[in-house]
């Protein structure tokens, strides 16, 4: 069975500082890894994904994530946080060649303080 762990319920960062939201995963075979963001009263929005290739992937709104196979991690990062980045962030994994539905972590609240 596949699983995702997001160890932090909440991450607080000052505006302009770099941010990291942590994610580790467990899956049989090659992982397909995703980050989604959820704003209040809105659906989940895709941010970025890793399927193969470069370990550092870039996504929407200046976010990036680094795939680390040995640590089974896929941490989300941004060099300079904006107040508008405040939201709920979900890490997700799929296996089976990516044809399976997603298994999500429990989410991390990111709060950017002005």
């Amino acid at each position: 069975a596949q699983s995702v762990a997001q160890p932090e319920d909440q991450v607080n960062v000052a505006e302009g500082n770099p941010l990291t939201v942590k994610c580790t995963y467990s899956v049989s075979g090659n992982p397909y890894l995703f980050w989604y963001v959820q704003y209040p009263n809105r659906g989940l929005q895709f941010l970025l994904k890793y399927i193969t290739g470069d370990n550092l992937v870039k996504g929407s709104y200046g976010f990036e994530a680094e795939f680390n196979k040995s640590q089974t991690s896929f941490h989300l990062k941004k060099p300079s946080a904006l107040v508008s980045d405040s939201a709920l962030y979900f890490c997700a994994v799929s296996s089976g060649g990516g044809a399976d539905g997603l298994t999500f972590g429990k989410g991390t609240h990111l709060i950017i303080q002005p």
Binding site: V4, F34, G43, F46, A92, K106
Partner: protein, 114 residues
């Protein structure tokens, strides 16, 4: 391009009543997913359709939940009878193979069972 549509957006019912949710995916998306998101948790996959066939319903409580996608386009998820623990947001998502396994989510239906 229109997004994934869901209705209703909110529903309040009493336990033991029945309820149905509707989803219309993005045009041309062959794969459709239903997820259940309980407050404070990540979304959990309930069922995955490929066109009008079920790919995975291993986490669907089949004694009370049912879903169909008769013409391979829109889909209905039904709960009968509802329990208090079914209170959650029900998310519909769709994907297209040529778009790198990205799932596009609708706004969700918030169900409250009293």
């Amino acid at each position: 391009e229109a997004g994934v549509a869901q209705s209703p957006r909110y529903k309040i019912i009493e336990k033991r009543q029945s309820v149905a949710f509707w989803c219309n995916p993005i045009s041309g998306h062959a794969t459709l997913y239903w997820y259940q998101q309980i407050l404070g948790q990540g979304p959990k996959l309930l069922i995955q359709f490929q066109n009008n066939g079920v790919v995975d319903d291993s986490q669907l409580p089949k004694d009370r939940f049912s879903a169909e996608r008769l013409k391979g386009v829109d889909s209905t998820l039904k709960i009968q009878p509802a329990k208090l623990e079914d209170s959650a947001v029900y998310l519909c998502a769709s994907s297209f193979p040529g778009q790198g396994l990205i799932e596009y989510f609708g706004p969700g239906t918030r169900l409250t069972v009293t």
